[in-house]
Symmetry: C5
Subunit: 361 residues, 5 copies
């Protein structure tokens, strides 16, 4: 549990440290990686295509003035000078650069007339901690370029790269806006994979709930519920982002691309729906767990109290005939002992019958 809040705190603490600096100051906020920043470009139109990996940032600039679509992908946001050079070359607003290097942004869409800035969260499911982790993706696109920034090297866009290389699908025929859409679409599609994993975990917990309800299970359900709420909160702004982007009147987004954005929007709604559904299931599991635990405790207490209750009057009877009075006529009777045993038996019998009739047993 602590790890969750620690991670959240990490993001806040980093921000807190930046306070006092002028807006637009570039300081990398996020985990420092060991690998160097890796820059790749692809330049294409319907007829031509060229690609180069591991280039220096300056190699990408000449494409700025061509009509072909250029996709510059930067893996790693921790080398400020590179980000600054790109900012200068493409004339990006200092606040954009600041957002790019500051992990922990909320998904948003900002229109700066000459280009559009999008921040997203790419989610991955950590199989070890059974929790969802997020990485910040920034996308800037103008009329003929798309620049994408990832915190770390990722393979989520490989299918798009293949489609560009092989001129499959529509991507080579359409503009930078369609490429940007494709990148977003790939990320949103990735969310379904996360949901799949969470769904499996819920299924597992459901089975365990019926077979071995335990306190550690309760803790897991609670933590899953919280995970659900936090996931919902991080996907909710995405819905707004895409809705704003689709309705934005920027000439950078062509009308055919808007149709595709509507499709991503539908997917986002589906994902939110699925999360809501999961949350209901988890809430239901909590209810079932709590009432099953309370039922079990009740059952134990009931049976035990029954036993106690039947024997207490019997013990009293035995106590009575254990008294040492000199003048106790029953004591001397020939059949006194069996009579008392019989009496005890009948008392027990009557009580059991009474409990049975009241359906307490």
């Amino acid at each position: 549990m602590g790890s969750k809040s620690k991670r959240r705190n990490a993001a806040i603490n980093r921000r807190a440290k930046k306070s006092g600096l002028p807006p637009g100051t570039l300081i990398h906020i996020g985990e420092k990686r060991e690998e160097a920043v890796r820059i790749t470009y692809m330049d294409y139109d319907d007829h031509s295509f060229q690609e180069k990996q591991g280039v220096s940032v300056e190699e990408c600039f000449p494409f700025k003035h061509t009509d072909t679509v250029t996709w510059i992908n930067i893996d790693g946001i921790d080398e400020i000078p590179i980000i600054e050079k790109i900012g200068k070359a493409y004339d990006l607003h200092p606040l954009i650069l600041e957002d790019i290097v500051t992990a922990g942004q909320r998904p948003k869409f900002d229109n700066y007339d000459q280009y559009v800035y999008i921040v997203l969260k790419m989610l991955t499911y950590n199989q070890t901690t059974l929790s969802v982790e997020s990485e910040q993706i920034s996308i800037v696109f103008g009329s003929n370029f798309v620049i994408s920034f990832q915190e770390d090297v990722g393979d989520i866009w490989d299918p798009i790269r293949d489609r560009i290389r092989l001129a499959k699908g529509r991507v080579r025929k359409m503009g930078a806006d369609y490429l940007a859409y494709s990148l977003i679409d790939a990320i949103v599609d990735g969310y379904f994979g996360i949901l799949e994993k969470i769904g499996e975990r819920i299924e597992g917990l459901e089975d365990e709930l019926i077979e071995h309800p335990s306190e550690s299970l309760l803790r897991q359900i609670h933590s899953l519920k919280r995970e659900m709420m936090s996931l919902r909160r991080s996907i909710w702004p995405l819905r707004e982002l895409i809705s704003v982007m689709q309705r934005d009147e920027s000439p950078l987004i062509s009308s055919p691309t808007r149709v595709y954005l509507r499709d991503v929007y539908d997917h986002t709604i589906q994902i939110i729906d699925a999360i809501e559904g999961f949350r209901d299931i988890v809430s239901g599991m909590l209810d079932v767990y709590l009432s099953s635990i309370s039922n079990r405790t009740n059952a134990i207490m009931k049976v035990l109290t029954m036993i106690a209750t039947i024997f207490i009057p019997l013990t009293f009877v035995a106590g009575v005939y254990g008294m040492n009075f000199k003048h106790m006529p029953e004591i001397r009777w020939r059949w006194g002992y069996p009579a008392v045993l019989l009496l005890m038996g009948s008392v027990a019998g009557v009580m059991i019958t009474y409990f049975r009739r009241k359906k307490w047993l």
Copy 2:
């Protein structure tokens, strides 16, 4: 309980598998059926009518250029080539085709100028699992055609077919939009049947709740509550769909049809209201169950504790006179034993009176 989440997961898992493919890729997502796809067309106007069942997809295309209304119905969405041919013939957007073959869409209304695309859920009540199942219905209509896609062969539209054949009602006199409205209306009408079944089940549970409250009943009520929430979530977008369709400014939807759409809208609201009402009833049942269980446990504990409490002091008294002290004057008294019995009787009497007066008995 597991089955529910398994079904939901199925939809997500299938989507998850598609990630990485370009948008508009046609892969059938849903349960594979054994029967072949079955195509039927009806072509009519006020004066003429023709119908043919089990045709090939190409037989339907000539009607595209006539002024009569053509209704092409396709039962089965698992043969991609057929869907592709229709898409080509009627010039449908690739995303529509993708949505048609991808079960698990959220109800929506998309206006593509030349035609309109609608996705709906047809609900059926499975009497065996006592749960609601859903099938995806896609409807595309333009100025003179309606194409409807069902996951499986269904008879919900038979009354409409009869009305077209017999020229009953308004349907032959009006355009494709009215036919589309009729199809939607039939599906929404079907929801009332579902509500009827759920209502019966709730009634049954209510009766059982009063007669035999049990843990298995609790589980059923919980699962019913969840079903209610999931049903509400799947009908809610329908309300929006119809509201958007009614207010849409597309020339494809004529003003008289809009009046009818308002009627369907009212039905949708009624259905949502009924579900809300059911949910309240189910919540109330949960409250009643919980408090009746807790009342019963309390009653048992109370009576039993009473018995124990009355006998514990008596047993103590018996214990005192069971002590073996040499010098216990009472032991030797002639009426010691009856006096002690009397003492015990009075102690018990006083306690019972006290409990009675405090209304604890």
Copy 3:
């Protein structure tokens, strides 16, 4: 409890039976009455007035073309041919006729340019079942006519009839819209009577709650809470209806009448406020009931456990001196017995003091 859901189900079941019929099909849905349909008309303007009761439907039609305001009131909606004749004479849309004969409509306001259609619920409080029952009222009005449909003969509009007959108030001086407003106003005023009855019932339950909290009371509070929720749900759309009607730009509704509609709107809000207030009171009653029950159980358990706890150590001491060891010096002591009694007394005293100090007694 069952009766409530049975009634609700009745409405849904009837709808469910209609599915498959073309829209606008007239089938009476509702309880079949024994009496014949009763038609009454009033025709008036500032100077003239005529009224006739128990007329045939055809007698009303000539007024259609006069400038005077005609109010046709129809008690009973189960004779389809009468409804159809009126529909034809006044050129009403088939969907209106369908709604009129289909009990269970949601309150709504539909503007059809030439006339306006309003559905409302008239509520009555059934003193026997202590529940609110509703009857559907339909009102159609045009520039010079008002047609009102009631499920059964009612006297709620008698004061309005008197005002028309005696030319009291503004009604004779104003148009059909003001008459329609008066009818709605009378129905909404009737709601205050319902609230009065519910208020009395709540007061009664409050008094009983303090004097005799019991499980049957709990059931009543639960059912009252549900009644409150269902009442709120059926009055909520009325608020919207009147708000839409007041803001509607139809020339059928004159500006002075709009001022009066604002007044009805205020009343509706007051009613909803009162219901919310009742709901809070009922929720509060539930809380008080639950905590008072739990307090009582706690009190019992506490006192009883105290008694048990004090005697258990004492019984142990008695048990010790009831052992039959040959060598127990205390047994033979002259003051052994009184000493032990003293010991027991002190143990009890110490425990009681301890409990007192801890405020457990």
Copy 4:
């Protein structure tokens, strides 16, 4: 508790009695006072000022046609003829007159072009019943007059009267709208006094909660919570009223006055915020109370059960050596008795140690 719902019911019952009367019928609804209605006027502009108390209603009318601002204040709304005369003189709509004499209106702002009608609630805190009571204030103002109606004689506006008399502040320099604003502002300022009293009561309850949690305290907290909810509901419409008034385009409200209205609006929001805060505190108190009660019960049960559990096995051992078997070798042993006592001591010791280690003691 009953008194609260009785008061609420009173308002509804009175309304219920009015049903059947034509709208605009003047019947005083509210508590009948013993004093006569008292009319006061003030007439002023920047340079002139005159004031007269206890005048007849007719004495006020001549001011209608002067340019000076006239403030007519009427204490008491139970003499219908006076209200009617004012209505006639200032040409007020019958619905306004009806609202003025009908206590229990919801706060609202109605614009009638020639004048503006405002209903408000003045709140006072009854120190005896510890509850908030409300009085209805109606204000009508036109271009050169303000007429205010109070249910009873009040002194809340005395500071405004002083400011007019002494020409302090802006009021003499500005129009009728500013005077109306001043009256509203005084009422809203009075709410802070109510909040102050409630705040003190909450503080008192908080202190008591820590020192003497009791069932009667619980009842008080519950009733306070309900009071909070009802207060919130009666202040909420005020917020809307002032917001509507500020944004209204009526030429009666001058632009400088709008700035002041924005200020009252801010106060209203502050009041609602404070109520929300109080509600949170009260909810928190309930939670703390409930968990402290449950903690105490748990503590008692735990200690008592401990005692019982330690002595039960010991009593069993004593019982064993109290058996009368002829052949019990231990009985005859020289050190049997001390050995058994030692055994008992060790059993008790072991159990206490075990409980300690488990942190149950």
Copy 5:
């Protein structure tokens, strides 16, 4: 707990005391400080810069007519004459002056055409009471001046002062609106520091919750939850403030500054998100605490009841053979005693086995 409500009450009580005074009356409401008011000005444009600390208020006025940006900062709002002089010099509306000296304002943005008025809350975390404290900041800015009012001397703006002095960042190149933005930005940045502290406290509580759950911890969690709610309520209006400011059409706010305001807006949303997340965590902690407490109590009760239940039947058996009947054959048997011991052992064994099998042990 009391301290919290006492502080809140303080604000309300002060307001309550002001009621009756004309609007715009200047009375300092807030805590009286001991230090004198301290005035500082900075006057700068791109090329020139001058600064003076501890000046008299009159020294600031000449800058009003220069084109350079003047920032007048006033630490302390308790000397009314100073505020009045500034109000006169810069022609500020009396309501602004009133708001400036009245601590406890809700954050808001008011546009007065010639200048803009902003109220904010600066939050600081009191390490001793572990609670958040707030100070009111007022900012007035026009085309060439910014006047800021703090309740007390603060160092939160020192980085901005440095940037102005050293001409770092954009601030010297831009207008008064950018300076105002910088001031707001610094305050909002400060909130991250508060969140950091709260996050640490939550982490600490989480660790303690696992190791030493106690009633005092519960109280802390409850108070933290309330703190969270109150924090959320005080930051929520800030979000609105900045959103209104960004969308305001005032020419005082330049388009580049609007871009920066969008950035602050994003930060506000992030802060609200973080608070929501904290609230979820705290709620989850409460749930975990409650269920862990109830689990522990259950465990104790279960084990103890087990022990009692096993020994009660055994004690009964011992009691039977402690009876003094003359004719009890078993008593005389040679192996009676061992046989009974064996019997007792088996009864205990059977019961333990039964409990084990039922998983109650």
